[in-house]
Symmetry: C2
Subunit: 247 residues, 2 copies
């Protein structure tokens, strides 16, 4: 088959793997790298992940690869079908909606908590972030603005000073493969400007220590971003029917 030839051609891209794993175990390297690829979108959702191929590529045996995939499964990034194969999770439209519902919940709570905490280092970082974001919007630099959006939300959650909240948030964002999606949402005309304005408002309310309003506005902001995203998303009538093994 032709596909086989393609697969073999890509095997040389290992050069990075060997240089990093000095500190940690191989499986940690595999986990980090595979997660990065999936989130960034290097690997297409639904694509099969062969343990053997990955082991070969990373220059390790199947064992660490297996354990890495197992972890990525509980993180919701891949789906392991016993005796069949491992595949990159393809989130259904419904799942995306659910994830955004969670996102709204967590970020809203984070905004409230941050407001209650008063002036903490994250506040300064948020202000700096917004200054940069303003410039990016001015320049119409959507790539940079997407990064800053990501940072803004991360800072907000970090500022809530709740490691569990943060952990769940990260898992959420990974499942959303947010990096892939933000650009889509920003492709909506005027969305960047609007988004930037909403960020400013949230931070103002936080500075005013108005937790209730901060939460409410933040939640509305998430809903708006979801709308912008779904509007720019292809129809995607794919059936992601197989239940996610979430025992």
């Amino acid at each position: 088959m032709i596909q086989r030839a393609v697969r073999e051609m890509e095997e040389y891209s290992v050069n990075r793997a060997k240089s990093e794993p000095k500190n940690g175990s191989m499986q940690a390297t595999v986990i980090a790298e595979m997660r990065r690829r999936i989130i960034k979108g290097d690997i297409e959702p639904g694509a099969p992940l062969s343990e053997l191929a990955l082991a070969d590529e990373f220059g390790v045996s199947r064992t660490p690869v297996r354990e890495a995939l197992k972890q990525l499964q509980t993180e919701g990034l891949v789906e392991i079908r016993p005796r069949v194969g491992t595949f990159v999770t393809i989130p259904s439209r419904r799942e995306i909606t659910e994830l955004f519902e969670m996102k709204e919940l967590i970020e809203g709570a984070a905004a409230r908590l941050l407001a209650q905490r008063g002036r903490v280092p994250e506040i300064d970082l948020l202000e700096r972030n917004l200054r940069e974001a303003d410039e990016a919007v001015e320049r119409d630099d959507r790539e940079r603005y997407a990064e800053l959006v990501h940072e803004f939300h991360d800072l907000l959650v970090a500022g809530a000073d709740n490691t569990k909240l943060q952990a769940h948030y990260r898992m959420l964002m990974n499942q959303l493969a947010y990096a892939r999606l933000v650009m889509t949402s920003l492709s909506q005309p005027g969305r960047a400007t609007q988004s930037d304005r909403e960020h400013h408002l949230v931070l103002e309310l936080i500075l005013a220590k108005d937790g209730d309003s901060a939460e409410q506005v933040m939640r509305e902001h998430v809903r708006a971003s979801r709308r912008a995203l779904l509007a720019g998303l292809p129809i995607s009538g794919r059936h992601a029917g197989s239940g996610v093994a979430s025992n």
Copy 2:
């Protein structure tokens, strides 16, 4: 063809509790059983888990045990210290607080969502649950009431009809080893009665489709249960004194 004869011989090596007929996978069995033990408190927090010993006990090799422990680690139930050992996670007081903050958040949201959904099957189950709970309180059957409390909260979250919410909630509860804790909280005098009353109030608000109030009361209920719990908890003086994770 020759190999076929061999396989039959080893078929019945594992014939203990077949609680998971759905998945014949050994590691799934190990995961489920170990999770049950940890959550239920059969294994003391901080206790070492030897791969070899577990493999021996379950009648399998180390491989499925390893993968099971790996998954339990990402679920936050055990901590694997490379080259040292695997230990049941000891949640610090701060972590417990954080987990309750999340619990409050999620259950509050669930109450709101359920209220918005109107009359769904879960509502009936909740009503039945409360009737039984009333009787249990009447009889002062704390054991049974603890079960019902668990079920009440589970039903509430299930009724929110958001699988992601449910998944995160389950992980949360597992980390809390809630089953261990509920009894502690109920040991506070009058807590059971109070708790039951709060449940009733929440359900009433849900039936009235008053999502805002339902969320608020639910959150207050969680805070109350946390207070009851922390009040009944020993003063952070850990029994297993050998340098556990300081967190």
